[in-house]
């Protein structure tokens, strides 16, 4: 009497070939997933190119990673653009929007008095806030030289008189290195 062949669970060695999804009891489902004569419903992601792709994305994102984070820009400020620019630095941000002056988002005076007087003048509120910031920096960093850098975020329609007044006030408060925040334009050759 011929021996009964071993079932697939008992055979230790199998013929090489695809195993996955071959034992689905419902025939129409099996056909569907295996794709006999039709387009297979299963797809395999080629892992090695996929990993290469992910590594490329990671490298690109790491290269463009900025530890300082996004710079806060006031919604009402429309900045001008320039070609010969430098990268941003971390420094107190003085924003001039409409008639308001803000230092790191905190109100620091008004430009109306300057416009009405039509002459260069010191803005006392701004001066005091910047001076306090400088003194705080010196307390936190004893023995270090104060960089004296402030960034002005000025709307493109603001008159030069206001810009010069803020510029001079910042200089008197101990911030002689002023940077104007601008958009970056591509260089035209």
């Amino acid at each position: 009497m011929a021996e009964k062949p071993l079932s697939r669970f008992e055979q230790p060695i199998h013929q090489p070939g695809r195993r996955l999804l071959h034992h689905i009891p419902l025939r129409f489902v099996r056909r569907k997933v295996l794709g006999h004569g039709r387009k297979a419903a299963n797809h395999e992601i080629p892992l090695i190119p996929f990993i290469d792709f992910l590594l490329c994305i990671v490298l690109f994102l790491l290269a463009s990673f900025s530890a300082t984070g996004e710079l806060p820009i006031d919604k009402n400020v429309k900045l001008p653009s320039a070609e010969n620019v430098m990268d941003m630095v971390e420094a107190p941000m003085v924003a001039i929007t409409g008639s308001q002056i803000l230092v790191d988002g905190v109100a620091a005076g008004n430009t109306r008095a300057i416009e009405e007087a039509n002459r260069l003048q010191r803005i006392d509120e701004l001066f005091n806030i910047l001076k306090n910031k400088r003194e705080l920096w010196k307390q936190i960093n004893p023995g270090k030289e104060f960089p004296g850098v402030a960034v002005l975020q000025v709307d493109k329609r603001v008159p030069a008189l206001v810009v010069k007044s803020v510029f001079q006030t910042a200089a008197f408060a101990g911030y002689p290195n002023i940077s104007f925040m601008v958009g970056r334009l591509g260089k035209v050759e």
Binding site: S81, E83, N84, M86, A160, L161, S179, F180, V182, L185
Partner: protein, 187 residues
């Protein structure tokens, strides 16, 4: 699974082959991509410098006697032209007129002054004093503007002043920086 087959490891020794578990590795990469995408900064903000030229803190040593250097004064008060004036102290050395021709650039209504930029570049090439990479000083430019001039025009002129670039060595590295330092005239 991706693996490294280094051979050996037989005879009861610890195997030296290693497999990278691909699925956790892909998960890790995806997490990294997600984190970097969330923290990515896409803004194109930059800065343009200006120097207030105020005296520094008092020092014990007597100040060095400074020789008068040539300064480029850029006069932008005229409606039709700019005036470039080279001055040594209060002495006017040379005056050049440049037509005021704004050229729109970009879609946000920004302007540039390419003629002014070209002329300033030529002037610095001919008269600039600080060119060497090791020179820590910069040529000085003073901007004279009308009180009612819009800030966008001021930036366009400062941008033109920064057109000439020179080498600057700092901390063993040499990079291109604007040849001029810009400050505002008070009056």
């Amino acid at each position: 699974m991706a693996g490294i087959d280094a051979g050996g490891g037989g005879g009861g020794k610890r195997p030296v082959d290693h497999n990278i578990p691909l699925i956790p590795f892909i998960d890790f990469l995806l997490c990294l991509v997600a984190f970097l995408l969330v923290t990515a900064v896409w803004s194109q903000m930059a800065r343009i410098n200006a120097d207030a030229r105020v005296p520094g803190p008092p020092k014990d040593e007597p100040p060095e006697e400074q020789k008068k250097e040539k300064q480029l004064h850029v006069e932008m008060r005229g409606e039709r032209k700019f005036q470039l004036v080279w001055k040594e102290g209060n002495t006017v050395v040379n005056t050049i007129d440049v037509d005021r021709k704004p050229v729109p650039i970009g879609e946000k209504g920004d302007i540039t002054f390419p003629d002014l930029a070209k002329k300033i570049n030529e002037e610095w090439t001919a008269n600039g004093s600080h060119r060497a990479g090791s020179d820590k000083k910069f040529d000085q430019s003073v901007l004279h503007t009308d009180n009612s001039t819009q800030f966008s025009d001021v930036i366009a002129v400062i941008d033109a002043i920064y057109t000439p670039q020179r080498d600057f060595s700092f901390g063993g590295k040499t990079e291109k920086v604007p040849a001029f330092n810009v400050t505002f005239a008070v009056n």
